[in-house]
């Protein structure tokens, strides 16, 4: 049995002003195996973040079901942890304080909180910065803290919502490699949302391509590039093939959007 099993998922929102209902996500079905790294890619407004937040238990489902290890989810749980986009670190807490936050919330009883937090901080390469506050760190370092905080609670599933979206291209590439290095240790099941095609390919065992209106899955692409990976694969033949395929998908979405805008 797959670790994450999403069936017939639909999520509707009510627009606050007009009370009009619109579907953010509809008819989504997806299985993720244990230890699989799945990236979800699509242009903005395709519901990829909504899908991830639904798996996190932070968004309620209108239709369908999400099961983790065969159990229907009904809200956030200690089996999942989320790495958010920027600005989710508490600015009044130090790096160590932030990494401890999840442990405190889950009443962690797997030993000393400080020791656990420090392990994770060292794992993401910030050992020297444990007493710094977020505003003293670069964007890349902040996202390392974000990752450490999620890993600290030892989740079964790691959910990442464009964690490198606000970083410059260079840092983003480094962070991708770093993330894979950390992930290779115990290969936790991972769902990673991005709008960056290269990032989606580089990280993934499986790429979920989403389209819009309403958000749906267009295609699921297997990625058979060998692991462990490094930047060298960015230039490989297979990588180019995948990039071409994803580009075509996203271009299709963009042109249909332009059409809508012209008509409107």
């Amino acid at each position: 049995m797959a670790q994450i099993e999403i069936r017939d998922l639909g999520i509707d929102y009510r627009k606050p002003k007009s009370n009009e209902v619109f579907s953010a996500v509809d008819n989504v079905a997806l299985s993720v195996e244990k230890g699989e790294f799945v990236t979800i890619v699509g242009s903005s407004g395709c519901g990829k973040s909504t899908l991830l937040m639904a798996v996190a238990g932070l968004v309620s489902l209108t239709r369908g079901s999400i099961q983790i290890d065969g159990k229907q989810i009904s809200g956030p749980g200690p089996d999942r942890a989320v790495v958010f986009q920027e600005a989710s670190l508490l600015p009044w807490r130090s790096v160590r304080g932030n990494v401890k936050f999840g442990l405190e919330m889950q009443r962690w009883n797997g030993g000393d909180l400080n020791e656990r937090a420090m392990q994770m901080i060292r794992l993401v390469g910030l050992g020297r910065f444990s007493d710094y506050h977020p505003h003293q760190l670069s964007g890349g370092m902040r996202q390392r803290v974000n990752i450490a905080r999620a890993l600290a609670v030892d989740p079964q599933v790691l959910l990442m919502d464009e964690p490198f979206g606000a970083l410059d291209a260079q840092t983003r590439e480094i962070m991708g490699t770093e993330l894979l290095r950390i992930w290779e240790r115990d290969k936790k099941t991972a769902l990673f949302v991005t709008h960056d095609i290269d990032e989606a390919i580089f990280l993934a065992d499986k790429i979920v391509v989403m389209g819009r209106n309403p958000g749906h899955i267009k295609e699921v692409i297997k990625v058979d590039l060998p692991r462990p990976r490094n930047e060298a694969i960015l230039d490989s033949e297979d990588f180019h093939e995948l990039r071409k395929r994803l580009r075509a998908h996203l271009a299709e979405d963009m042109s249909s959007m332009q059409l809508v805008q012209e008509v409107a």
């Binding site: 749980g77 989320v82 009044w92 936050f101 405190e104 505003h135």
Partner: protein, 271 residues
């Protein structure tokens, strides 16, 4: 003022401008200005520019200050004013923080109480002074009430704002780790709204000082405001100025103290 302006500046600007020159230069100009003013004040009556009876002189004020501290029952009056100030202020804190928290966390409470609260905040609470005297007599009670009324609204409104304007991204992050409502309150809302609460306290200090002095000016038998009134009617400009300086020094010191705590807490917000 200066420190608030400094923190409001974007980091880049602070690095590019020669800010290390500025404090010393502005301090020098400030000192020169003060000395020039004192000299002018000292010689003006002698030159016949102003009537010394109405303006006094720095030297006279200085001598009056020594006299006030030595022979004027200063500590007695100060104790009464300070008691009124702190009684009213502490009462205001005790009432306003829980109220601010309630209003900041409950939308219903906010819809219910926000409009009258705003109205009371904007209206000068000193207009209620005559009523307080009728209700509470002429002892300390009406002044405590006026201090309370002056201090309570800025603290309530700022606490409320700090609570209700918590970053939704922090709330979502906390929920993702399974935080309970109580956890979110103690670990996210309270630390997050601390700077706003301190801003409220700082604004309240000014209004509370005003409340004590005006209350005592209006009707009293003792206190700094009573002394001000006394020397005002006796045309003792020198002593009047001594008391006025004491009041402003007190308010200023307290404000600076709160602001320094505020800036420390707000440090992490500068980015």
């Amino acid at each position: 003022m200066r420190s608030a302006e400094m923190t409001a500046e974007p980091a880049e600007a602070r690095q590019l401008s020669f800010s290390f020159l500025r404090p010393s230069r502005s301090a020098a100009i400030g000192t020169v200005a003060v000395i020039a003013f004192l000299v002018l004040w000292q010689i003006a009556p002698g030159m016949g520019w102003v009537n010394g009876r109405f303006t006094s002189r720095p030297t006279e004020v200085f001598l009056a200050a020594i006299d006030v501290f030595k022979n004027d029952n200063f500590l007695f009056h100060a104790r009464i004013s300070l008691t009124e100030f702190f009684a009213g202020f502490i009462l205001a804190i005790v009432v306003s923080i829980p109220l601010g928290v309630l209003l900041g966390t409950s939308k219903i409470a906010r819809y219910l109480i926000d409009p009258p609260l705003m109205a009371l905040y904007i209206a000068p609470t000193l207009v209620l002074l005559p009523i307080m005297v009728i209700w509470l007599g002429i002892d300390m009670a009406p002044k405590i009430a006026v201090v309370f009324l002056g201090a309570v609204f800025p603290i309530v409104l700022n606490t409320m704002a700090g609570m209700s304007e918590a970053d939704p991204r922090f709330l979502r992050m906390a929920r993702s780790f399974g935080a309970s409502k109580f956890d979110i309150f103690t670990r996210v809302l309270v630390p997050g709204s601390l700077p706003a609460l301190l801003t409220g306290l700082r604004l309240a200090v000014g209004r509370a000082v005003l409340g004590v002095i005006v209350g005592e000016l209006f009707v009293s038998q003792a206190g700094i405001g009573y002394q001000l009134n006394l020397y005002g009617s006796a045309m003792r400009i020198d002593r009047l100025l001594v008391y006025a300086l004491i009041v402003s020094a007190f308010g200023y010191t307290l404000t600076v103290l709160v602001r320094s705590v505020e800036n420390k807490v707000r440090d992490w917000r500068s980015k």
